[in-house]
């Protein structure tokens, strides 16, 4: 009898499992930023951004079960200089007409160096090339706000543009630091 009760309890718990499943949050394109940093003439660092990223974050009680997807239009590159933006969209760099979408999809999440840190590994597709990268992601906050339930993350990743077949022009460095700040609203 006791055995039956135990089995029934386990079955009930399993049946209730979806109730504890991850919550899905949609990336708020207005309050999220993707910033990149690249060296110019081997002298100074230059910053630019991609406006209006979209995607979603699945937040689980067990943070290693979190998942992230993000997409940004290569045409949304913004360096506060229209001629340079046009050059970045051209086939010297992002070739936005041929490869309009830059996307990231996480494939695995591990605990990071600190409690609120995660190492998010995933596939970054850019310029028609997909490469696995790891983003050191920090959960910057989670709260019920006037704009609904929201979570925030900040990630930093280092990539090489040549790994994605982006040649660029002489004087522009190869190593790129991505700084990703996500604010996502619960569905």
């Amino acid at each position: 009898m006791l055995q039956s009760i135990r089995l029934a309890s386990v079955a009930l718990l399993l049946a209730c499992a979806p109730a504890f499943a991850a919550d899905t949050y949609n990336i708020d394109p207005v309050h999220s930023s993707i910033v990149f940093r690249i060296k110019h003439l081997d002298v100074s660092y230059f910053y630019g951004r991609f406006n209006a990223p979209t995607g979603s974050v699945n937040v689980d009680a067990d943070a290693t079960q979190n998942s992230f997807t993000a997409t940004v239009d290569a045409n949304n590159v913004d360096t506060a200089q229209p001629k340079r933006d046009a050059h970045l969209k051209s086939l010297d760099f992002f070739n936005a007409k041929e490869f309009p979408t830059i996307s990231f999809k996480s494939t695995g999440v591990k605990k990071g160096a600190k409690d609120n840190m995660l190492d998010v590994t995933g596939d970054l597709t850019m310029h028609g090339v997909t490469k696995s990268i790891t983003i050191a992601m920090e959960q910057t906050g989670a709260a019920k706000t006037a704009m609904g339930e929201r979570v925030g993350f900040e990630g930093i990743a280092e990539i090489k543009k040549s790994d994605f077949g982006i040649k660029g022009i002489p004087g522009v460095g190869d190593e790129v630091r991505l700084i990703i700040d996500i604010e996502a609203a619960k569905k």
Binding site: L41, Q81, A86, D92, N95, E98, P100, S162
Partner: protein
């Protein structure tokens, strides 16, 4: 910014290779009365361009190509190969026409079909029509240049290509693509060798090798419009310059003295190229000024 190393590797060394290969044909061109050694120009230009391409993009393209600029390498190589064999084996006209047609259509498809998955995704009919139109323009440019090159010996055709190539490269550079500009510049640089050879050897002819310059140049022009910011009017002006080489055949020009003939042809040919470059320059300056005023 381009430095001395870039210019040396992109242009100077490939031009020297081109010159070394073309000097092989020095003697035959000096002695011959008919068309000889027409295999040399496409071979020399093709190899020099391949070197320049590798130096500019720092890669050898792998199939399937990632990025349309890599398809330019395939287009230039295939054209050089066909023109070299044509010059070597004197292929029959029907086969040359077929090959030119296949290569023109293939070039347009290879370079511009990726847009059907990208910017033309919602405009597949318009995109397909563009690809057909580009193929037709490449074919016409190729065959007409080849026809004129077999009639006009000496430096004229190479001079035309230098003028057109320099204009194209400059306009592309001012229209947001240094890479396409450098590729155009590399083709132009190889033609300076043919120009010098044509000046020294009056019997020298690009003849069946004209396609090796015209096809990549036309492809770069259309890429400038579709992939970067080349203004449609500038594209049109540079395309108009393609058939203007034929002006030299007009009776009222052909009858003039040699120096006047060259001057008139250059003015007519150079006018649309000059206007296109000037327009691209003014647009470039205007954007810079607007930005500075907005600061």
């Amino acid at each position: 910014m381009l430095d001395f190393r870039n210019i040396l590797l992109d242009d100077v060394l490939p031009v020297l290779l081109c010159a070394a290969l073309l000097t092989v044909t020095w003697r035959p061109w000096r002695r011959a009365t008919g068309p000889v050694a027409q295999w040399a120009t496409p071979l020399a230009v093709g190899l020099a361009f391949a070197w320049s391409f590798h130096s500019i993009t720092e890669t050898w393209p792998k199939w399937p190509f990632t990025g349309s600029q890599n398809a330019v390498f395939a287009v230039a190589s295939a054209t050089a190969l066909v023109c070299t064999f044509d010059g070597l084996l004197r292929l029959p006209n029907w086969l040359r026409a077929e090959l030119a047609l296949i290569l023109s259509a293939g070039s347009a498809w290879l370079v511009f079909s990726p847009l059907l998955k990208g910017a033309w995704k919602e405009l597949s009919l318009e995109g397909s029509l563009w690809i057909i139109a580009i193929g037709v323009v490449i074919h016409i440019a190729w065959t007409s240049a080849e026809l004129l090159a077999t009639r006009r010996h000496g430096a004229w055709m190479a001079f035309h290509f230098v003028l057109l190539g320099a204009g194209t490269a400059t306009a592309l550079g001012l229209s947001d693509s240094l890479q396409l500009a450098r590729l155009g510049g590399a083709i132009t640089a190889t033609m300076t060798v043919a120009l010098l050879l044509g000046l020294v050897l009056p019997r020298f002819s690009l003849g069946r090798g004209a396609g090796v310059v015209l096809v990549p140049l036309t492809v770069l022009l259309f890429m400038g419009y579709h992939y970067v910011g080349l203004d449609p009017w500038n594209l049109l002006l540079l395309l108009v310059a393609l058939p203007l080489t034929w002006m030299v055949e007009l009776d009222w020009i052909a009858r003039r003295k040699a120096w006047l003939r060259v001057l008139l042809s250059t003015l007519i040919l150079g006018a649309p190229i000059f206007v296109a470059v000037a327009r691209a320059h003014l647009a470039f300056v205007k954007v810079q000024q607007e930005y500075m005023q907005g600061m």
